[in-house]
């Protein structure tokens, strides 16, 4: 039961994350989507560890998730920094306005 709910939740989070990154115009929301996606993926690891061992005894997913969270933190840090720069330069967070590079 825990296993299914974990898996379901992780899939749902990934789906939400993907939805947000690919439909939202606001860069801030996209970054949040990215974070949700990361959470979903991390949750998936936990779920898999649960499936493999029937509990939380395998150290591998734990270690991975911890590391992944750190890396996510860095990623989001860079993303937020960029968001700041974007707002300063373009006075907007609407990514549809960032369309100078095309074709």
């Amino acid at each position: 039961m825990i296993m299914e709910s974990l898996l379901f939740t992780s899939v749902a989070l990934v789906a939400i994350g993907l939805y947000m990154v690919s439909t939202k115009k606001n860069l801030m929301k996209i970054v949040i989507g990215l974070e949700i996606l990361a959470t979903g993926v991390n949750l998936s690891f936990i779920a898999m560890g649960y499936i493999r061992t029937g509990g939380l005894t395998d150290p591998l997913p734990q270690a991975i998730v911890v590391t992944a969270i750190v890396l996510d933190g860095v990623l989001v840090g860079v993303a937020l920094a960029l968001t700041l720069v974007v707002f300063r330069r373009f006075k907007t967070l609407d990514v549809d306005k960032l369309r100078n590079l095309r074709w």
Binding site: V21, S22, T23, D96, L98, R99, N100, L101, R102, W103
Partner: protein, 682 residues
Amino acid sequence: MAILALLPWVFPFIVAATLPLVAKIGGRARDWYAVSGGLVSGLSSLLIGIDSFDGVLDYLGGVKMPYDLILAEWIPIDGYRVTFGVLLDSLSIFMANVVALIGTLILIYSVEYMHGDEGILRYWMLMNIFIGSMQVLVLGDSLLAMFFGWEGVGFASYGLIGYYYRDEKEYWIGPYPPTHAGMKAFITTRIGDVGLLVATIVIFLTSGTMNFLDLASEPGWAAELARSGVLAATLLLALLGPIGKSAQFPLHEWLPEAMAGPTPVSALIHAATMVKAGVYFLARFTGILYEVYWALEEVGVNIWGELSLFYTAVAFVGAFTAFLAASQGMVSDQIKKVLAYSTVSQLGYMFAAFGMAGLLIEHPKAFADVYATGIYHLSSHAIFKALLFLSAGVVGHAVHSYLFRDMGGLRRYMPFTYSVMMIGSLALAGVPPFNGFWSKDAILHAAYVEGFGYVYLVLAVSAILTGFYTFRMMGLAFHGEESEHVRHMVEEGHPPHDPGILMKAPLAILAAATVVSGFLLPMLGSYFKPLFKFMGVPEEELLAIKIFKSPDFFISTVTSPLFLVAMGLVALGVVPSYMVYLAGRYDPEKLVTGPLKPIWSFLYNRWYINAFYYKVFVDGVYALSRGIYNYFEVTGGGEAFKQLYISLSEAARRVQTGYLRMNMSYMLLALVLMTILYMVVV
């Protein structure tokens, strides 16, 4: 003394090559050095001729004719032997003499005729190249060697026809400038050579050799070709070469324009020698085919069917051309053009002779008879036609024009020229005792006796026309009213006059030869013995040898009933001509503008053959070329491809929209599509 066999053809080339250096010494040295090219060639040919008189070549170590002096392994081709050598037999030695001796006379004539011309160096070089090439043609021992000479004379002729390369209006013959005429001659003969070259290659690769003697002695090639059914085709292709070179129908249209060159050139190349190359080829090949025929007959292979097809074609072409050209000669308005037509016509006689000879291949005696007449006419024609051309050159030189309308009544001013030209004309018309009569009559005689009724008929009609146009020419040039042009010249104090000694001497020699050679040539009978050796018939029984040997020939000719017919033919032509042009009884202008107008314009326009050729071949090929060029080359597909590429590129770039959401959608779309694919595939 093998060098003697080399001198006739090597020396003129040496002269041609070194002439520019000698020319630095001075004009006189240059001229006579150039003449020496022909002279040495002629003298050495003569020496060889004398040397070989008894069928033995003493200088060459007593070898028998025919003798093949092989000089070099020439072109290595795997499995075949191609050598270069000199073939000495009666035919080649005789031809070499004709070429070089007449050539020498004409060169001497040129010294005065071409005096002061700015391109004289070029003239001398080309003339020497011509004589050298012509000697290679007649002395070469193989088809390939002959082809070298064949094309060499073609080139020299091309250069000399277009000698007045600036295309000044005064040198135009007909509507064409000289350089155009040169091109026309070159290309027309090249078309004929296509056939000759094809045949040469086919024969070469079938037989493994191109040597004339080998071809005659090893007849397997003919059997082989006959078996694969291409013997007749090969021979007919080979015939194209002589047809082109000797200006026979249907490749005869180049010769009238070829008169654009200096007159000595016309005399030497387009009357006396080069155009004889086709006849020489026929003589040479008829001999080979004769041997081949009998050798194959012995082993039970009969090639009569193929040969008869070939020789019928030769006889037809010859007879028809004789008539065609003679008819055109009757209306020409330029003196050299008349002679050109006459040359074509006379060459037709020779073709007819060899055609008939070939058709008699099963009857050796008759064959030899007719064959001999062909050679006989060849030699006498060379002499009297050279004489006629050189005289015409004197006339043209004197009045600065070759148009009849600028002449008239010239006999008063240039009696010498008139008399020598009259000798030539009589020979051409076939009046005894000049050489033209004996030889032409021999052909007619043979045609009648051997039962070639149609050929006889056509040639007889042509003989009438010949008589007519010859005296028309004489009448228009030397008799009748003086033209305005001549009167003008007289008023200005430069009346037309006879030439200097350097031009007179060759004329005199040729005139004498015209008178004498008719009798002299048959005297060479024993000389021609080796030529007929191959016939395998005891020579005493051979009529040809008999007639060549003794004066009986002349007696029998004159006493034959055909003599009267022949005289009648000449009279039929000469008398009307005399009435109209010499005696002035009728005004020719009235005739041609009146009832005879359509015939006149038909003949004047050369039966419209020339126009037809230009329309179809020249314009046709040009139209084709232009069409191809404009359609395929100018409007190429490159531009279309470029546009397509660019528009494809522009379309492809639209993928990159610049919307982040779009980019993400591609990614997710790929994920979805791949998932769907798995559903389908797995």
